[in-house]
Symmetry: C3
Subunit: 348 residues, 3 copies
């Protein structure tokens, strides 16, 4: 159960740099590639004999089927085929696709409703003061289990006990609020010692690393399944999250969760930071560390999914720490119902 | 089709020495661990969000969920969770579990009927004159195919042709008798030369290894699926199985067959011997040899299961050599019917 | 949907040289082996306890079950079993099997209709002027997708772009004709330069390799699923395919496509050539090259099958280049309907 009329992150530019990419997004098997007109997404199904177009190649900005050379337009209409008239060939489905903020976005639903203005504005993606590094995991779980995971960081204490987890996270009660379709779960820890990552960041901003700090984690959920987490530390008593930039260090944990099927996801994770943005070695080091830490969630999420698949009727608890995920699911339920209601109305 | 109201061997103490173990026993997905109160077995499902508890850890004798730190009691009731009141949390199912004779035993059925006195008495497991070594295999076959295998050792001549098989086994007709729920299939070979394993055992008991011996294999089936095989040799003409201990060498092949699903098993195999029990190198050597020999059965059992799954209606033959397995199945059929009948009566 | 009352290539003599072979042919799980009476094919199911006979061995020309030593005749009747009377044992199904032309042929349907005279006559297989080399691939696709592949060699330009593909193939229009149950798709290229393989063949026949040639590809489909492709070059203007043997070099691409299941095949590929037939190093070199080239089709065929399985109702195009495959499918449809009709009549 996922939204169809929405923008999902489908891949990174790297993934289509030199050949088309086959990828299932929200149940739709797509071929994504870079055409003369820009990025394009089509059904991964050649109208000639059903071969996957993703096994083909891009020649002079056109997608060419790797089986018999059919040349496909990014509108889903066949352009040409050796020795054939192609006018009567059936079209395949084309999906709106946009490159923006360093990602390729795809709209798997009704193309008529696709509006590039609905792609979220990621200020850090296009600003010289910020650097970004990230990666991609394929995980066999419902995308909502990953939303739950990210909206309740108490799991850090247990899943990431040897890296970023610390008892203080567990002890600080999170607060969740809902603003329209936006869910915010905040947790503040005051007067604690900064863990190693934040000591490094403090030094990077010319601040002392051996004094108490105020630390925050502010998780933002936005539909369909984007979770951005503002994280940072400020010297204790300077206003915490609201402290003057010269007194703090901060970054954003970036999570685009793209459903593949009902029980699997493409998980685009990363970190945007606004300290030492030119330091590419630091970007690589952070990415490597984050990659290791985030991989610790995989076994848990897949085990949880296996358990839930085995016991589909079983009711889970919704505690105060779960409020972020619970509120996100409520918004999703409402939007999915609306989307399906509209479809019904449109069909009637 | 297997019994539920019975004790199965679920694991060895080693397997839960430093972390909880997830294992499906007779269709029940369990987490097994060592609690302060002793060994414990619970549903492998955290009541909070359905995470597998087997991915957690044991802290100070309590099972702690590896996702958000819920602390579980061995009665299936939540003890605590950081920053939460847990009184209203639903309990998960707890299964009777007992450590005895060097194994962890679990009762997957109705806990009210579990009685530790029903665990079989393994005299060799707790006696200084005996040594035990063994291992565990996972095999994709109905547990009854393994009972058949062990109650008809004519297969040794073919499956184990290069190790323990010998033509004399094939030529000696086995005799099967049933005593209540106990099936015994015996085979005696007289005046033959001892194979290498038994030559070694004879020497270990201070007996000559180059003289004719009488050899025996006495297979004991007991429900639910335990097969113990008394094996040994005596100097020829001294009474065979009944010979005076000073004239013979013997051991017990130990087989606990624990159904996982309808078509897969956990197979705990081993050998208990009463010669040179202090010789640990010998124990290791026997275990290694037995492990290799018993692994030769895997492909056959899995191939047989695949064939039977493909032809579920097809009738198999029950020859005189199959009598042990056939009688064991009859007892199982009767006990399973009784168990299900009782359940029906209890529900009515 | 495949024919059952027909001869399929089941394996090569090598595959049963020293042990029985388990292989599913047209949905029938067989054990194939070399008996005293010649090659034999039986159900891969021991009548005793259902073990796969293919895990057994051949002793003195008889198949012996690897589990309990049952000895099976190549008529499907049990010959003997240690210490047992076998007269009442149920027979298993025996399948007609013939060794001819360097292959083992099996008839998976009604044995009464099997006639060895229906095995195709492969003149090159038994003639000293010809040499043959080939291999076997297992591919997860409907056997008809491989027929399509081989009856439309335009795919060479795309799938085999880096080896045998060349633009001229694409530019020459193929002609398809049907003669009874025989489909022929021909393509002729005139006055082109010979690609490396044919340069070598020309030299082998004492002909110049640097002059224009006429080249041909003549694909022959015969039921159930054999495709033989006559390929060759002649010095330009000497009559092409019909040129005098001294002015040309030619060979035959051999393809036996044996359905395993509805969506998987055993693909026996090879090349028969009538130049330098004694040169075994050349045979090995050609086989290696062909094996690499033919392996390039695997991903495409399996991807195409996956797409078609996902969209079973979707209609494919039948272009003029597809005519060979389309005609072959028509013949198959007719023969399969006839076979099923006969079966119905026989049952009535």
């Amino acid at each position: 159960m996922f939204l169809k009329n929405t923008w999902y992150v489908a891949c990174t530019p790297d993934e289509i740099a030199d050949k088309p990419l086959g990828r299932t997004i929200a149940g739709e098997a797509l071929v994504i590639y870079r055409a003369t007109e820009g990025v394009a997404a089509l059904e991964d199904f050649c109208p000639h004999r059903g071969a996957p177009l993703s096994l083909g190649r891009v020649c002079e900005g056109k997608l060419v089927c790797g089986y018999h050379g059919l040349e496909m337009g990014c509108d889903g209409k066949t352009i040409a085929m050796p020795n054939q008239r192609v006018r009567g060939f059936p079209a395949i489905r084309a999906y709106p696709a946009v490159e923006r903020h360093g990602f390729i976005w795809v709209w798997p639903g009704d193309a008529a409703q696709a509006d590039a203005a609905l792609i979220p504005d990621l200020h850090w993606a296009n600003h010289p003061d910020w650097a970004y590094g990230g990666g991609l995991y394929h995980i066999r779980c419902d995308y909502r289990l990953m939303i739950d995971n990210l909206m309740d960081l108490t799991h850090e204490t247990y899943v990431h006990a040897n890296s970023i987890g610390q008892k203080e996270i567990d002890e600080a009660t999170p607060v969740t609020k809902v603003e329209g379709e936006h869910v915010i779960t905040s947790r503040h820890m005051e007067g604690i010692m900064a863990p190693p990552f934040w000591q490094m960041a403090l030094r990077g901003n010319g601040l002392p690393d051996d004094q108490p700090v105020d630390r925050w984690q502010i998780c933002h959920f936005n539909p369909p399944s984007h979770v951005m987490i503002e994280v940072g530390v400020a010297l204790a008593g300077r206003g915490g999250y609201h402290a003057d930039p010269k007194d703090k260090a901060s970054s954003i944990v970036v999570d685009f969760i793209t459903p593949e099927t009902e029980t699997s996801i493409w998980y685009f994770w990363g970190m945007a930071r606004n300290f030492q943005p030119q330091d590419e070695a630091l970007t690589a080091k952070i990415r490597e560390g984050q990659g290791k830490i985030f991989s610790e969630d995989l076994a848990m999420l897949e085990g949880q999914q296996a358990n839930l698949s085995r016991h589909p009727g079983r009711k889970l608890l919704g505690l105060n720490t779960d409020a972020g995920g619970v509120q996100a699911r409520r918004i999703l339920d409402r939007l999915i119902a609306a989307e399906r209601g509209e479809s019904v109305a449109a069909a009637a």
